[in-house]
């Protein structure tokens, strides 16, 4: 028999929601938790916790750092949404990493090879990135529905293949050229018409926020609307909750698996775009890697919720940015990685605790209403 209560996995992936103020309590609790644990780690390694956190906060709130943080967060957000699309359907797309790297490489090459009027050029690059990401992810989707291969396994393999394929493509005989003034190689730089100008919106600094931060917002809104307002989103969530019930309700689960992988991959394709179109203009050997894995952590942190993910991405980015100051104070910047890991764990624990609290609190409320003579809404079976 299936237990009438929600499972741990449901609570973990945010399929069961907290209500009211409690939905704020959980993340706050998590941050306090993580703060405590990090303090202990700092103490053990001989650094004063409060001072260290103070230094990080100080540095992290400088205008320049804020710009940096927003830029990181933009990328992280896209990555986490890509992961979350799969999560909502119980699909573990571990392959976001390979999808975005391959997408960025091909999109950069295409963008560098053509010259088009500005809006068209940008649109073309984004489109190519999404198509490549979607195409690469769809392989895992098809393998799952046609051959029953677990997407976890296939996407891990596809990551490795993407790395090899990327190395093969990024060769002077194929897509790469020498980057001027270094021994690095990369794709041909994207001309002016394909670039997205940054925005100097943070007062007190010349540094610019990626123009494509808007893209992240659009993707976030799109994700929310698609999942909770559309039929398609309903089918996707239903499949995630109970595949057998979804089948009986008329959902074509195989089609859903492939579609969800394609959507996840298309979102993954966008991950590299803010960086590519806003700052590096070329995919070279030093293009950031590993963002797909960060996305998994942030999706968990934000519980697959579009706003939750935004907070998770900002927090993660803040920690990343402020870590660079630690070295100056002779504190190991690895402490930040520990913090990030701790936060993810704390979030999982905190949500579990708050969920349990919510249940007992409700029960106490019911009994109080009973004692006070006001009947609860339904009492056992009311006639």
């Amino acid at each position: 028999m299936k237990s009438a209560e929600s499972s741990f996995a449901d609570r973990l992936l945010g399929r069961v929601r907290l209500t009211g103020l409690l939905s704020l309590a959980a993340p706050l609790l998590a941050i306090v938790f993580a703060g405590l644990i990090t303090s202990v780690v700092l103490l053990v390694s001989g650094d004063p916790p409060l001072e260290t956190l103070g230094v990080m906060a100080d540095y992290g709130t400088q205008p320049r750092s804020i710009v940096l943080m927003l830029n990181y967060a933009t990328t992280y957000y896209l990555s986490a949404v890509a992961v979350a699309i799969g999560f909502r359907m119980n699909l573990f797309n571990i392959g976001v990493d390979g999808q975005y790297r391959l997408a960025a490489l091909v999109a950069a090459a295409v963008g560098g090879a053509v010259t088009l009027p500005a809006p068209l050029h940008i649109a073309l690059i984004l489109l190519v990135a999404m198509l490549v990401g979607a195409g690469w992810a769809s392989i895992a989707g098809l393998l799952k529905v046609k051959r029953g291969v677990s997407e976890v396994i296939s996407t891990i393999m596809l990551n490795a293949i993407a790395t090899a394929l990327g190395a093969w493509l990024l060769n002077k005989e194929r897509l790469a050229v020498e980057v001027a003034g270094s021994n690095n190689i990369g794709t041909k730089p994207i001309p002016e018409s394909g670039r997205v100008a940054g925005m100097a919106i943070i007062p007190g600094t010349e540094a610019k926020v990626f123009g494509l931060i808007i893209l992240a917002v659009v993707v976030g809104v799109g994700y929310h609307v698609l999942l909770s307002r559309t039929r398609f989103g309903f089918d996707l969530r239903a499949t995630g909750r109970s595949e057998s019930a979804a089948v009986a309700s008329g959902v074509n689960v195989k089609k859903m698996v492939v579609t969800a992988m394609i959507l996840s991959g298309a979102a993954a394709g966008l991950i590299g775009m803010p960086q590519l179109l806003g700052s590096s203009y070329s995919y070279s050997l030093d293009f950031p890697t590993g963002l797909g894995f960060t996305g998994i952590a942030i999706a968990l942190l934000g519980r697959n919720h579009p706003v939750g993910i935004a907070f998770g991405a900002l927090l993660w980015a803040f920690l990343d940015t402020s870590s660079s100051i630690l070295q100056l104070h002779e504190i190991s910047p690895e402490i930040v990685a520990i913090m990030q890991g701790t936060i993810v764990l704390s979030v999982i624990i905190a949500y579990e605790l708050v969920h349990r609290y919510q249940i007992t609190a409700e029960q106490r409320r019911v009994s109080k209403e009973l004692a006070g003579g006001t009947p609860p809404r339904v009492e056992g079976a009311s006639a």
Partner: protein
């Protein structure tokens, strides 16, 4: 209780002042219950009265907010089912939890391997012990049979054996007869008497009051979460019992005047379903259902009914032809069939009927996600779906604190009412009703029958599958018997008794 004066032994189970609250609901309030050693003790009460919750508390699956549990006179506080098992309490849930592709032996031993003596499980000893238990209580269980080859009755005996294997002396059975046809019920009751004779104590829940009266030594009635009466089965009638439970009379499924028309709504020709290993599960089934007609299919569970239904729903590949009205729908997807007006009350509501972790109003959308009032074009119409959920809750008397609670929080019978209400919405032309009143109380059963009759009078064609023979005989205009995947007999529902139907279902009437 009078008997307590005569009997000097301590009760096997005593529950005192048990209270359990869920968000918005008091499931159990100040429960008092004493179960004598060696008794078959029945617990009855309407849907949502709190029976399952009370049993889960006794079995350690849930913890009471208040109250005391005494087993054989000693106070206990279970933190998990394993605590309850070590105190000699075992529970068989309504939905079996056996692994299909394992043998009886493996299923029984699973999770209870002797911990001492290294890694290897001593299958030889286990087999001997199973045989011995099976013989002692005449369960007739073969340890080496594959579970997927067993019928429901046999599976249930395996579940009981599994509990006995773990040393249970007190057995809880939650609605054990809901899935059984009459002769299986008789067999089960025979087993229960055997167990009781050996000194075991049995607590069982049922909505079928005749059965309760025939087998129980004592009956406790629960209403709105609390025990309202303990009665002697020899001193009450089913009618009185129903009145104690719900304050209403026993319903009858009788359909009076026929509403059958000449227009064929669903026609099935030579439908066959094969299992992955090429066994024929449904074998050339042919029938027509006309508008305003209820076609009943009688059969012991596991004779192809589930596969037949899934084939008609397009959830399972099949050969043969299915026509809905004029159209051949054999190649249509499940969605298209549903959109064309096929309603579906599945036999397993948890697997096929609900999203347990979603609120009621989202469950209203399930299976109807392309139709009003749930959607407008590609968009979910929240307001529409919510309003219609409220209507269903009201019309079908779904007892719930609101439409935002998760389906998992409803009692089994109330989940069923929600599904029936949903599938009757949107004017279906053809309804598959698999055990439409399984697990609902007598009052709700009458209400569901009324809804079915009204829809039938308005032209609905119904394929009715049920283990409840009174329901089948009373509601059906035409009745067919299925055995090993084939339609083996046509029966006239006007002139058949449940006994005759029962023997036709086991093949006894095959020759006739």
């Amino acid at each position: 209780m009078e008997e307590a004066v005569i009997s000097t032994s301590t009760p096997a189970v005593e529950l005192a002042g048990i209270t359990k609250r869920f968000p918005g609901v008091v499931a159990n309030r100040d429960i008092a219950l004493a179960v004598e050693q060696g008794h078959v003790h029945a617990i009855v009460g309407e849907n949502g009265a709190g029976k399952s919750t009370l049993m889960k508390i006794l079995y350690g699956m849930q913890r009471p907010d208040e109250g005391e549990i005494r087993v054989n006179g000693a106070a206990v506080a279970f933190r998990s089912p394993s605590d309850a098992i070590s105190a000699g309490i075992g529970m068989v849930h309504q939905h079996f939890m056996l692994a299909d592709n394992l043998t009886v032996l493996e299923n029984v031993v699973l999770g209870s391997e002797p911990r001492k003596g290294g890694i290897a499980i001593d299958f030889g000893a286990a087999r001997k012990k199973i045989k011995q238990i099976s013989d002692t209580y005449s369960l007739g269980v073969d340890p080496d049979a594959l579970v997927e080859d067993l019928g429901v009755g046999a599976r249930q005996r395996v579940e009981i054996l599994k509990v006995l294997y773990r040393g249970a002396r007190i057995l809880i059975l939650d609605e054990p007869t809901a899935v059984l046809v009459p002769h299986e019920v008789d067999e089960l009751f025979g087993n229960l008497r055997e167990l009781v004779r050996e000194g075991l104590t049995i607590i069982f829940i049922s909505h079928k009051l005749d059965e309760v009266l025939s087998v129980a030594d004592a009956i406790t009635v629960i209403r709105r979460g609390t025990t309202v009466a303990s009665v002697d089965p020899k001193a009450v009638t089913a009618r009185q019992l129903a009145e104690l439970m719900v304050g209403s009379e026993l319903p009858s499924p009788e359909t009076r005047e026929s509403t059958v028309t000449d227009v064929v709504a669903l026609s099935v020709r030579n439908l066959s379903v094969h299992s992955p290993d090429e066994r024929c599960i449904v074998d050339g089934v042919t029938f027509d259902i006309r508008k305003g007609e209820v076609l009943g299919i009688a059969g012991v569970e596991g004779n192809g009914q589930a596969e037949l239904v899934e084939a008609i729903m397009g959830m399972r590949p099949a050969e043969g032809e299915i026509r809905l009205g004029e159209e051949d729908i054999s190649a249509w997807s499940t969605l298209r069939r549903r959109e064309a007006g096929v309603g579906y009350i599945p036999e397993d509501r948890h697997r096929h009927g609900l999203l347990l972790e979603a609120p009621l109003w989202e469950n209203r959308i399930l299976g109807h996600q392309t139709r009003r009032p749930n959607v407008k074009g590609p968009w979910i119409d929240r307001a529409g779906a919510r309003a219609d959920t409220r209507r269903i809750v009201e019309q079908y008397d779904v007892r719930t604190p609101g439409i935002d609670v998760d389906a998992a929080a409803l009692s089994g019978g109330n989940q069923q009412k929600l599904i029936v209400g949903r599938e009757m919405s949107g004017d279906p032309v053809f309804l598959i009703a698999s055990h439409p009143t399984r697990g609902v109380d007598v009052g709700a059963q009458a209400a569901i029958w009324d809804h079915l009759r009204a829809a039938r009078a308005a032209g609905l064609a119904v394929l009715l599958i049920s283990a409840d023979l009174d329901e089948l005989i009373g509601l059906s205009d035409t009745l067919k018997v299925i055995l090993r995947g084939r339609i083996v007999a046509d029966v006239d529902p006007q002139n058949v008794t449940p006994e005759q139907l029962g023997s036709a279902m086991t093949g006894a009437g095959e020759a006739a």
